[in-house]
Symmetry: none
Subunit: 206 residues, 4 copies
């Protein structure tokens, strides 16, 4: 009597996942604010009550999706940076990891651009802030020794993220907005180089 894959079961609800999937689709198709619980319900087949049983509120769904996306983004960047042999590889890795995540999961990337400001102002703002704080701390901790060693320009910590990720973020935002632009992968090297040039110590600008 394995409970793992019982084909007779009523479609293995796993309600939580169904609801999140439906919500994400609705949010992207109609926008976050305009999406109604009813629309989500209709799409995933759950009942209104079930949705509230699992997530408590519309904001709860939004936060769950948002935090998840943020984690995946962070993970991609962490993977691309882990074990970087040189500061240059590390900085480039951050950009490449970011761009790869955007291109791999453009759905969630676009969603995250939309959802983040909303969550940041909503009732789950604290959760998001905490997650962002951790991520930022890790990032700055990575930069610090390299700056101390002279491999990076001697700049205040707070400006590094913008110099490194700013261009990639800007381009990703524009691409996801739906113009006729080339996908981020096309500019992987350009954006990674720009990041390195922006923060590399002057004599390392090679």
């Amino acid at each position: 009597m394995s409970s793992a894959t019982d084909p007779d079961a009523p479609a293995r609800p796993d309600r939580r996942r169904d609801i999140l999937d439906a919500a994400l689709a609705c949010f992207l198709e109609q926008g976050i604010e305009p999406t109604t619980i009813e629309a989500i319900r209709e799409r995933c087949g759950a009942s209104v009550g079930s949705i509230y049983h699992h997530f408590g509120s519309k904001d709860g769904i939004l936060a769950a999706l948002c935090l998840r996306a943020l984690d995946e983004q962070s993970a991609s960047m962490a993977r691309a940076t882990a074990g970087a042999p040189t500061p240059r590889d590390g900085v480039r890795g951050l950009v490449l990891g970011y761009l790869d995540w955007v291109q791999t999961d453009p759905i969630r990337a676009r969603f995250l651009f939309q959802a983040r400001p909303l969550v940041a102002r909503g009732p789950r703002a604290a959760d998001l802030a905490e997650r962002a704080r951790q991520r930022n701390a890790a990032l700055l901790a990575w930069f610090e020794p390299h700056r101390a060693s002279g491999a990076l320009r001697d700049l205040p910590c707070e400006i590094y993220p913008s110099l490194v990720i700013g261009p990639a973020q800007s381009y990703s935002r524009a691409w996801l907005a739906g113009g006729e632009m080339a996908p981020p992968a096309v500019y992987r090297e350009v954006l990674a180089d720009a990041a390195w040039r922006a923060v590399a110590a002057p004599d390392a600008c090679g």
Copy 2:
């Protein structure tokens, strides 16, 4: 019967302006979506009907504010670039003009970050798109000759804006979000340099 200054008039203080001022304040305090016409009405003392007489809809108010802010931003960038003697001065000017506008009018800068995505999806999207198109065309027109002359890296047009403005935009966004960060002016040079390094031809990386 001058309509300019009639001391007998019941303090007819340019309704349009009052309404826009009140709306901007509400949008920033409460957020754009949550702001109701009633809230704007209460703040500026006008009647609901008067607001609709002047702007037609909530989106009308939003678009008026948004386009105005965008124009001011463009103007600041145009001023800082106009008559730039070298490509380097031009690129740096774009960044400096952008940052100066943000620092001079942080209220409207913050508002623009919030309003733009909404207007871009709202009924006045066309107006915004047209304005953005013009601005972008001017920008690219400025880049083109320098690229052709070899002063700039040979990159597709679409990537330039992100390389140049991306970091400044990223930092401005973070600063306006209200953390404990130093004002953009502190990083004027850093950000302007980064922009130039990102787009300068390799042998001009000085």
Copy 3:
């Protein structure tokens, strides 16, 4: 162009009154909690928005009706007591005034029994408490000189109201509950006498 009585006007809305009348009827027919805004709307022909425009909330309607009924009750008691030549007439007047109001407007009397506890726990509790405080102060101010003069038993103020109104209230509640009981008017004298006996100084028990 008299605006006073234009027979062609669309039934002289006076929305506020219409809404209150409809609400009272619904509250009595279905109970207060079970009455929905929709039911009130349907009965008075106003729109949901109009109801909220005038009263702000369901509690607002309830409070308006409740306070109004309480005022009328107080007025009836005040009338019956005003200019009472003797303490006995005054005490009896309170009871008679109360009973007359109940019998004259049993609709509102029954409503008040139901509404008061709800309002006392709702968001408008303060309004009700203030009104009750004033009324009680007036009542006690009336009793005090008579007690001081020895016409009334020497009892703490707080017990007077229960001794005087308690029986009348108890009977009114039972009658309004809809049994087969005789109307309060039948027991006017009995209840008024009981009130006087309960508070009269021992040697005045005649």
Copy 4:
């Protein structure tokens, strides 16, 4: 197989009682209508299903508590009247028994004031009515012979209860409402005397 004390049972602490206790606490803290099954569940640790298994519905819980309280009240009054040597002692006993119960169990007394009107309109109204009928019949049966003997005023049965219990009820209600009033025990004699004076035959007004 004693069902009384099974030491192996997982602290089976009489679910029914736990649920009723939790419900009573919730009803008093939050009000009856606002109390949700979920709130009761959280407080007593039982599951929703278990609550329904035992009581069938929210009204079932309410009725159980209400009827129980009413029985205790009746019992207290019956005890205080039982074996009363004179009509005066009997009448006074009703009042004293009522007040003693209120003071002994103010929690349930307050609850009963709130719950009774609700139960009287709810699906268990019949149970309550039957219980009230029995109680009233007993009361009137007690009064009847004394009235016939001339010890009590010659009044219709229906007015006796209000004359006797009205003041005590009125004061109890006010005290339980939470003001700064003295506890009912302070006025035991006053209220008992008032009851007797109200129903005693004229020549017995001593």
